[in-house]
Amino acid sequence: MNETVNKTPSDPADKPIIEIIKMHKWYGDFHVLSDINLQVQPKERIVICGPSGSGKSTLIRCINRLEEHQRGQIIVNGTELTNDIKNIEKVRMEVGMVFQHFNLFPHLSILDNLTVGPIWVRKTAKKKAEEQAMLYLEKVHIAEQAKKFPGQLSGGQQQRVAIARSLCMNPQVMLFDEPTSALDPEMIKEVLDVMIDLAEEGMTMIVVTHEMGFAKSVADRVMFMDEGQIVEENNPNDFFDNPKHDRTKLFLSQILG
C-alpha cells in the first residue's frame, strides 16, 4: 500500500491521489463535461450529486477511462491517463468501480467473480486469491453465498458482492456510480452500511448518490454538478445548510422534498 494513505486528508502538502485539471469531454458534438478541476486527497470521501444528465457518471467513468476525455489532464496515483494502454491498465488496477446495475459476471460463481481479477490481473495464486476473496465476502456479510451464482442473489446481496469484487483488487480508490438507486428500499441500508464501514477504514471514495443521509454523515466534501460543470462544492454541513447557488438550492429542495 502507498505510504500517503496514513496521512490526514486535510494536510495541504499531501500529494493528491486523483488530479483532474481543466478537463473537457465531448460525446460527438455534445460538450458533456466542461472545465472540470478536481483534486482528491488519499482517504478523502467525496459525494457527487446533481440532476439526471448532468454528467456525474461520465465524470467518474473518466477516472478509470471507461470514457475518454478530449482535453485537460487526469492523473491517478501519479499516472496520467492517455491512450497508452499500459497506463490505463495500471490505473484500473488501482481504481475499483461499483455500478448501478452491479454488473456481476452471471456465468461465474460468486467466488469466481471475486477471484478473476486477482488471478489474471494481479497474478495471485488461485488458493491465495480464494482465501482473500472469502475474507472480503465475510466483510460484506455474504460468505455463505460463495458457491452460488449472481442470478440466485437479491439485488442488495449482488451489490455487496460487486463491492467485494472491487476490493479484492486492493484498490487505492473506489468509485461508486449510484450504487443504491437500482435497489428496493429495504436493501439500500445493507449496501450503505458496507460503504460506511469502508469509509471508516480510510478508503478513498468518490460516490455519485442521491442518498443525502449518507452524504451528510460520511462525506468530507459534497459536490453539485449541473450541465457538465461542478457548480458548487463544500463540506456537507455548509453544503446542505447554506447552499450558495440557486441551482443547488433548487436541486436540494427537490431532492429533500
Binding site: F99, H101, N103, F105, H107, F149
Partner: protein, 363 residues
C-alpha cells in the same frame, strides 16, 4: 400481530373433462370442429400407411440374404446393407486392410463418448485427442508397423464423412470466433478483412468452393507442388463453415450487455482476458442453438464432396446401387442412410440441449 380468522373454504376437483387423459384429448385434439376433423383425417392416414409399411419393413422383409433371394419377396430387402457393408463403410480401402479404418472409427466414437462429460474438459482431454488423432491417422495412412500405405484418395465411406465433418466443425469454430471478434475490432484493416471474407464466402455456395479448391486452386500452385485433394476439400469445408459460425457468434457478442465489458475493464482485465473469461463464455452459450444448426448442416453438406470425386458414405452407397444385382433396392439403402444421418444429427442436437441446460446458471 393479530391472527386473521381462517376462513373455511372448499377445494373442488376440476371437472373430469379438464384433466387426465380425457382432458388432454379434449384440449389438444378435439377442442373445436376443425381440429377434430384434422385429427380424424390424420388417424385415417395413419391407418392406411402404417400397417403396410410395417409389413413391408419387418414382416415380409429379408435381413441377410443374397440378392437373388430378395427377388421373390414383397417386403424390404435389407440384405443390401449387411452384404455390402464393407464397401458402404470403407469404400476403396483395400479389403484385407479394412480392420484399420474400422479400428480408427471405433477409437473416434470412443473419444466422442469420452468427451461428452463436461467434467473431463481439461487439458488432459486435449492431449488424449491429439494422441488419438495421431493413432487414427497412422492407422488410416499406414506405412509403419508393416501396414501398407493407403493413399488418401482411397479413403472413403464412413471415415471420410466423419473426418470431413469432425475437422470441419472443430476447426471452423475457433476460426469463426476469431472472425467474429475481428469483425467487431476497432482496427479498420482487420475489420475490413473479416467483413470481406465473411461476406464473400457467404455469397457463394459450398459446391463452388469445393470446385475452386479442387480445380482452380491447383492452377495457382507452382509446378511440382501438389496438395492433397482430401485436404483441399477439408479446407474448403472449414473455411465455408467458419464464415457462418462467425456471423452467429457476432450475434452473440452483440447480445452482451455493455456492463459486462465495463465491469471487466474496471477490474483491469485486458482485451484477450475479457473476451476469453467474461464475454465469450456467455456469448457462445447464447448461440449454442444456432451454432448447432450450422454444425448439423456442415455435417450433412460433407456429402457434396461427391462432385469432386470423393467417395463419402452417400457416394459409396450410390456405387453399391449401381451394381445390377442390388439396383432395385435403393429405397432400403437410402432409408438406411437417412437413419445414419438422423442418428448422428439427433445425438448432436440433443447433446447440445443438455449442454445448454447444464450451463444455465439461473439468470
Amino acid at each position: 400481530m393479530k391472527k386473521l380468522p381462517t376462513q373455511k373454504r372448499e377445494y373442488l376437483a376440476p371437472p373430469i373433462t379438464e384433466v387426465g387423459f380425457i382432458g388432454w384429448l379434449h384440449s389438444n385434439l378435439f377442442n373445436n370442429w376443425y381440429n377434430s376433423l384434422l385429427t380424424i383425417i390424420i388417424l385415417l392416414l395413419f391407418w392406411q400407411l402404417v400397417p403396410p409399411f410395417f409389413s413391408w419393413a419387418f414382416i415380409n422383409s429379408l435381413w441377410n440374404s443374397s440378392a437373388a433371394e430378395c427377388r421373390d419377396i414383397d417386403g424390404a430387402c435389407w440384405s443390401i446393407i449387411p452384404r455390402n457393408v464393407d464397401f458402404i463403410f470403407f469404400g476403396f480401402f483395400p479389403e484385407d486392410q479394412q480392420w484399420r479404418p474400422g479400428l480408427a472409427m471405433f477409437l473416434l466414437l470412443g473419444m466422442v463418448f469420452y468427451s461428452k462429460d463436461r467434467n473431463r474438459w481439461k487439458k488432459s482431454l486435449f492431449v488424449y485427442w491429439t494422441i488419438n488423432l495421431v493413432v487414427m491417422g497412422t492407422l488410416m495412412y499406414g506405412g509403419v508397423f508393416g501396414m501398407p500405405v493407403v493413399e488418401t484418395a482411397q479413403w472413403s465411406g464412413l471415415p471420410l464423412t466423419f473426418m470431413l465433418a469432425l475437422f470441419g466443425m472443430v476447426a471452423a469454430y475457433p476460426i469463426g470466433v476469431l472472425l467474429a471478434l475481428g469483425r467487431k475490432s476497432r482496427m479498420p484493416a482487420i475489420k475490413t478483412l473479416c467483413v470481406v471474407y465473411i461476406e464473400m464466402i457467404r455469397g457463394v455456395p459450398l459446391i463452388s468452393l469445393l470446385f475452386m479448391s479442387s480445380v482452380m486452386f491447383p492452377l495457382f500452385l507452382p509446378e511440382g507442388v501438389t496438395i492433397d485433394k482430401v485436404l483441399r476439400a477439408q479446407a474448403a469445408i472449414i473455411l465455408f463453415t467458419a464464415a457462418y459460425i462467425a456471423e452467429v457468434v457476432r450475434g452473440g457478442l452483440q447480445a452482451m450487455p455493455r456492463g459486462q465489458f465495463e465491469a471487466a475493464d474496471s477490474i483491469g482485465l485486458n482485451y484477450s482476458q475479457t473476451m476469453r473469461l467474461i464475454i465469450l463464455p456467455q456469448a457462445l452459450k447464447i448461440v449454442i442453438p444456432p451454432s448447432v444448426g450450422i454444425l448439423l448442416s456442415a455435417f450433412k453438406d460433407t456429402s457434396l464432396v461427391v462432385i469432386i470425386a470423393l467417395y463419402d458414405i452417400l457416394k459409396t452407397t450410390k456405387v453399391t446401387l449401381s451394381n445390377p444385382q442390388w439396383t432395385n433396392y435403393s429405397t432400403e439403402a437410402y432409408l438406411f442412410l437417412a437413419l445414419f444421418y438422423f442418428i448422428c444429427c439427433y445425438s448432436m442436437s440433443s447433446y447440445s440441449r443438455k449442454l445448454e441446460k447444464e450451463l444455465h446458471t439461473g439468470h
